[in-house]
């Protein structure tokens, strides 16, 4: 069963790699931020799988921190970063 957990985590890592392509091609900053959010959610799932597979309970706490920071990043991005860039582009 451990090998199965690891292969699932590897598949999720492959998803994150696909998401990196979206960081490269995303036309607006929001698309890049969405890719970062994808990393957050997928990272939580990966860490939970690894915690079960390797038997390290502390990884669940790391996943909790990931979930918390993912939300805070988006709030900071919307409030601080993106408004400025919109003004610069003069839509």
């Amino acid at each position: 069963m451990e090998a199965f957990y690891f292969s699932m985590a590897l598949f999720l890592l492959f998803n994150v790699l696909l998401g990196l392509m979206c960081v490269l091609q995303g036309p607006t900053p929001a698309d890049r931020m969405l890719a970062a959010q994808l990393f957050g959610t997928t990272g939580v799932a990966m860490l939970l799988l690894l915690a079960q597979g390797m038997g390290i309970a502390a990884l669940r706490d790391v996943a909790l921190v990931f979930a918390l920071l993912g939300g805070l990043t988006v709030v900071a991005f919307v409030r601080r970063a993106w408004i400025v860039s919109n003004r610069n582009e003069e839509r």
Binding site: N15, A30, Q37, L38, V44, A45, G70
Partner: protein, 100 residues
């Protein structure tokens, strides 16, 4: 493998499928709102199903409760994040995609 292992494996594969669908939507959909919709919904379902698959494998009630709480936190934060980004995109003047 016991029947619990098989059930857990099926749930984990389903979760991975939903994650893949979310990533595909992020890559292929035409504008911010569509991508937001694909990513937020598909990924949260994927995480939920993955968590369920791990919950039936977990050793104690505490761990199961912790896994469910992590999922709940991700649900709340990503719903908030989706609203914030959609609002900012709308007020920032991002045009909606139309089939041409």
């Amino acid at each position: 493998m016991t029947i619990r292992d098989w059930l857990s494996a099926a749930l984990l594969v389903t979760g991975a499928f939903f994650f893949f669908a979310g990533t595909l939507g992020l890559l292929r959909f035409p504008d911010v709102y569509n991508r937001l919709h694909a990513l937020t919904k598909a990924d949260n379902v994927g995480l939920g199903v993955t968590v369920l698959g791990l919950v039936i494998q977990s050793e104690s009630w505490i761990i199961a409760l912790k896994l469910l709480l992590i999922w709940l936190l991700v649900l709340v934060t990503s719903a908030t994040a989706a609203h914030l980004i959609a609002n900012a995109a709308l007020h920032g003047g991002v045009q909606r995609w139309r089939r041409s």
